[in-house]
Point group: C2
Chain length 200, copies 2
C-alpha cells in the first residue's frame, strides 16, 4: 500500500453562525468582514469575534468562520469546556442533535443557543482525486503516525472527500499540544488499522 503524507492544520476554538444569529449578534442587515481564507476553498475567517458564556466561565474573542451555516455551531476543545463548565460530545461537524447549548454575546445582542456545542472529531479533508488515487472512502477512519517525544498513533481520523477539498488533517489545539504537532507538519496516514488490530 502506498503511503500518503498529509499536512496538519490546527483548529483553534471557533463558531459558525446562521444568518439569523449574525443579525441578532451584530445588527439587522449586518454583513461580516472577511479576514483571511482558510485551507478549504470557500471557507474563511471573519474579522468579527463573539464571547461565549457558559455556566462556569466565559471565553472572549471566539473567531467566526464562514461561510454561514443553516444552524449555528460552536467547536471547542476539552480544555475550553472544562473552563466554562459544559460537557459536549466529540462529534463530526454538522452532527449537533442533543449537544449542549451556550450563550453567545455580540456587540448588538445575545443569542441563547439551545444546542450546537461540540468537540470536533479529527478529520482529513481530501479531494476526490486523492481519494481515488489512494483508495480512501468518504466517512472511513484513518490513522496517522506521530513522531517525537509525545509521539503515538492518532486513530479515528474521519475522512471527508469532496471534489474541491485540499488535503489537510484537522486537529484541535488540545490534540496539537498533546501530540506536539505544528501547523504544516507532514504525517503518514494509513487506510486501515490492520497492523494495529492485534492489540485491540
Amino acid at each position: 500500500m502506498e503511503t500518503l503524507k498529509v499536512p496538519v492544520g490546527i483548529s483553534n476554538r471557533h463558531i459558525h453562525l446562521s444568518q439569523e444569529h449574525i443579525e441578532a449578534l451584530f445588527g439587522v442587515g449586518y454583513s461580516l468582514t472577511k479576514m483571511n481564507d482558510l485551507s478549504q476553498p470557500g471557507r474563511y475567517a471573519y474579522e468579527e469575534t463573539v464571547t461565549l458564556i457558559g455556566p462556569k466561565g466565559t471565553i472572549p474573542g471566539v473567531r467566526i468562520l464562514g461561510s454561514a451555516r443553516k444552524a449555528s455551531q460552536v467547536e471547542l476543545t476539552r480544555t475550553d469546556t472544562h473552563k466554562i463548565g459544559i460537557n459536549p460530545p466529540v462529534r463530526d461537524s454538522g452532527n449537533i442533535a442533543g449537544s449542549p447549548g451556550i450563550d453567545i454575546e455580540g456587540p448588538k445582542g445575545l443569542v441563547r443557543l439551545n444546542q450546537g456545542v461540540i468537540i470536533a472529531t479529527r478529520h482529513l479533508h481530501m479531494s476526490s482525486e486523492d481519494a481515488w488515487k489512494y483508495s480512501f472512502k468518504d466517512g472511513e477512519y484513518l490513522c496517522a503516525i506521530v513522531p517525537g517525544p509525545r509521539g503515538g498513533i492518532l486513530e479515528k481520523i474521519r475522512v471527508r472527500v469532496n471534489p474541491n477539498y485540499t488535503l489537510d488533517l484537522h486537529v484541535d489545539t488540545d490534540e496539537a499540544n498533546a501530540y506536539g504537532l505544528v501547523n504544516g507538519q507532514q504525517l503518514d496516514v494509513y487506510s486501515t488499522n490492520d497492523q494495529f488490530q492485534a492489540a485491540r
Copy 2:
C-alpha cells in the same frame, strides 16, 4: 505476553520547590502546609500556591507539590507555555539542564528561576514487584492503548521503577483532554512496540 492494566493519573501544572526558594517566597523558616497525599508514597500537595510570570502572561494558583527538591522545577502543559510565552522541552522529571527559566511570585518575595521549566514526559510509576512480574525495566518506554472517539496509541511512556511506587500512569491535562482520558481509567500497556514497528 500477559497484559498489564494501569490506572491513569492526570497531573495539572505544578511546581516543586527547593527549601531555599520556599523561604524566599514565603518567608524565612516557613514550613508549607500539607493538603493531601498523592498517589506515590511520600508525595503530597501543599495548600500554598504561587504565581508564575512569563514574558507573555502569568498563571496564578500554581500548586506546590512535595517533598522539597534540591532544585526547583516547574511542570507545565504546552497550553500553559503558549499562554505565557515560553518554549520548554519535553523532559523526564529532574532533567532540567538548559531548560528555560521563569519568575515565581509568592506572598513574601519573588524568585527568578534561571532554568527548571519542563513539559513532563508521560511516565508510569511501577513497583519493583510489578516490574519483575511483567518484565519491565526502569527507564524503558511502554505504549498504551486508548479507546474511544479520541482514541489512539500513547507511545513513549517512560517506566519508573521503585520498591515503593504505586502503579500509576501520569499524563498531563493536555494529554488527558486530547485523548479523552479521565482519572482512574484503566489502560492496557505493552512492553514493546513490536506489533506497531511495521508502521515505522
